[in-house]
């Protein structure tokens, strides 16, 4: 989340290919006399200038910086590709990447699976109060990530409800500060992520399921299909679009994970919950190795772009 701005950049681009198609169609159907491209450029100018200052120019500078060793103060020295080549042999980055894969499971795969199951079970027509359930389940989506971090810090605290519950059921021996534990901090944060992204998955799937024409279900029912086959032959294929959107979104959320980790464990204990963005932040600002931080940013962008493009391609390819 936030990241949540955060969460949202990714959410948008899936519109890209389809939008492109719409544009071609529109062009053919009539070159409107309302089109005045030079005037358009004038209207676009403020946005373009802001975008150039904040995004385009720094992206270029980031690539350039990634070829240097620089501590942020003294003169930079040329580093060639060394900020990239050491990537996976660097123990900090190596664990950050491993944690990312682990987080993808908790932020993406798990919520999508749970979301599909519960959406399928709950999308019956004529269910009263469905709106209230939807609003409740959706709630974590709008809550400030910094607040989510505080909330889960309390839940996992030594005197928190998880330990209370364990003591209650006679498992007092395994209570601990979950976020301070080398083994358990990572899955504990993962579950917080599942909690945070599950709602979006479910609500998205429910609203797409409602758009499936009932005739499709009637057709398979005539063939004598049960609810399970119904799910796999009708529901699942119809949800390819939303699944790919949510997949892209949550995967990038996992790749970029920062707020939740920084505000709870700061990547610790040790480096047991460190993420690429935490490494980037520390190298850029705490203990400057700016070139390396920039290289992390470049690689993260490339990975995000590839993830999104692959998911969009796969979803489109299958749909045709």
């Amino acid at each position: 989340m936030n990241q949540t701005l955060t969460h949202d950049q990714e959410r948008r681009e899936t519109g890209h290919p389809a939008a492109g198609r719409g544009r071609k169609r529109r062009r053919k159907s009539g070159v409107g006399s309302g089109r005045r491209p030079w005037l358009g450029l004038l209207y676009l100018a403020p946005g373009l200038v802001l975008y150039a200052i904040v995004v385009i120019v720094p992206v270029g500078q980031g690539v350039w910086l990634s070829f240097f060793n620089w501590n942020g103060v003294t003169a930079a020295t040329w580093a060639g590709l060394s900020n990239y080549t050491g990537f996976l042999s660097d123990p900090q980055l190596r664990s950050a990447v491993e944690h990312t894969l682990y987080f993808i499971l908790f932020f993406s795969i798990l919520p999508i699976t749970l979301g599909l199951i519960s959406a399928a079970l709950s999308s019956y027509k004529g269910l009263r109060g469905a709106g209230i359930f939807r609003a409740v389940i959706f709630m974590p989506q709008v809550i400030t990530p910094a607040v989510i971090a505080v909330v889960w810090q309390q839940i996992y605290a030594p005197g928190g409800p998880v330990n209370d519950f364990l003591t209650l059921v006679g498992l007092g021996g395994i209570t601990r500060g979950w976020l301070g534990d080398f083994t358990w901090a990572l899955p504990a944060l993962g579950l917080a992520g599942t909690w945070a992204s599950f709602g979006l998955c479910m609500v998205m799937f429910v609203s797409s399921m409602q758009a499936i024409p009932p005739e499709l279900y009637e057709a398979v029912r005539v063939d004598g299909a049960g609810p399970v086959r119904e799910f796999f032959t009708v529901t699942l294929p119809s949800l390819r679009g939303p699944i790919s959107v949510v997949l892209a979104l949550t995967m990038i959320g996992a790749i970029r994970l920062f707020d939740l980790v920084w505000l709870t464990t700061k990547g610790g204990p040790g480096i047991s919950t460190i993420t690429p963005t935490v490494v980037l932040y520390e190298r850029a600002f705490a203990n400057p190795n700016v070139g390396s931080a920039a290289a992390i940013g470049v690689v993260m962008s490339l990975v995000s772009l590839v993830v999104v493009l692959v998911i969009v391609k796969v979803a489109e390819g299958r749909a045709q």
């Binding site: 990241q3 950049q9 948008r12 089109r35 946005g47 019956y124 709008v142 920062f258 772009l305």
Partner: protein, 270 residues
């Protein structure tokens, strides 16, 4: 259409899921109301004053002021920029569109990590770190891609004959935008305003990097600072967390439909 058994099962399932989602939030709410500073819940002695104490101890008055200035400016200016850019791409067309439109769209896919490090050093050069202008500028620049794309889609849904009719009546492009296109795109603008509010208010990372002076930091950083103190009083921390999320929760209840629809179509659109 569905059997009683199915209905009961569905309600049970939705109930379990809702409780699982709500439990952590309700727990924190109860902690915030309890007198115990180590987090035990005691609703027999509800202590509303925790909210006031938390507000004072965390110094939220200044943080809230900053958050309001930052979020307010970003929402207003960002929406304006989005309207202008969307009108350009969606209605007027743009010279060099074949190059410029993909360039703007790429911003939708780039994570902040791609440019945040050099952006910080640029802002140091411009001497706008630790200022409202700096963080507002950063939010605005990052919002251009989504805003332009979003408003372009909205303006394209307006039948061009309407703009055409206004043009024949002598309306220039500016008047057409405000009198014809914008009124018809009002729902899209409302959604954009809500999303922009949500994203700016919730931001932590950008502000953490660009604003290190507490006098200009938004309330999310105020909460972070409060939770990082050496001896944390859990009930006060919980109260502070609730205060920070309150505006968004209230907004999302008032505009529930727009929020859900916006966040869903914001992702599915196209």
């Amino acid at each position: 259409m569905i059997s009683r058994r199915e209905r009961v099962m569905t309600y049970t399932l939705l109930g379990i899921v809702s409780i699982a989602v709500l439990f952590p939030l309700v727990w924190v709410l109860f902690q915030a109301l309890s007198p115990s500073s180590v987090g035990s819940i005691d609703l027999a002695h509800v202590q509303w004053s925790n909210f006031i104490t938390a507000w004072q101890q965390a110094g939220f008055t200044q943080y809230l002021k900053s958050s309001l200035i930052i979020t307010g400016s970003v929402v207003i200016l960002g929406t304006l920029v989005a309207i202008l850019s969307g009108y350009a791409f969606g209605v007027l067309g743009v010279t060099g569109e074949k190059f410029l439109f993909p360039l703007v769209l790429i911003g939708l896919m780039l994570p902040m990590e791609a440019f945040i490090v050099p952006l910080y050093y640029d802002f140091l050069d411009y001497r706008i770190t630790d200022t409202y202008q700096g963080i507002i500028l950063a939010h605005l620049g990052m919002g251009v891609s989504f805003g332009a794309f979003w408003m372009r889609t909205a303006f394209r849904a307006v039948p061009s004959s309407l703009g055409e009719a206004a043009r024949i009546d002598g309306a220039g492009s500016w008047a057409q935008l405000w009198r014809v296109y914008l009124p018809l795109a009002r729902p899209a603008v409302l959604t954009l305003v809500l999303l922009s509010f949500l994203w700016t208010w919730n931001d932590y990372f950008l502000a953490l990097i660009l604003v290190s002076d507490p006098a200009h930091q938004p309330i999310t950083l105020g909460l972070g600072a409060f939770s990082g103190r050496y001896l944390v009083q859990v009930n006060l921390l919980s109260a502070a967390a609730i205060l920070v999320s309150l505006p968004i929760i209230v907004l999302s209840f008032i505009f529930q439909r727009q929020f859900i629809r916006g966040m869903l179509s914001g992702s599915v659109k196209g």
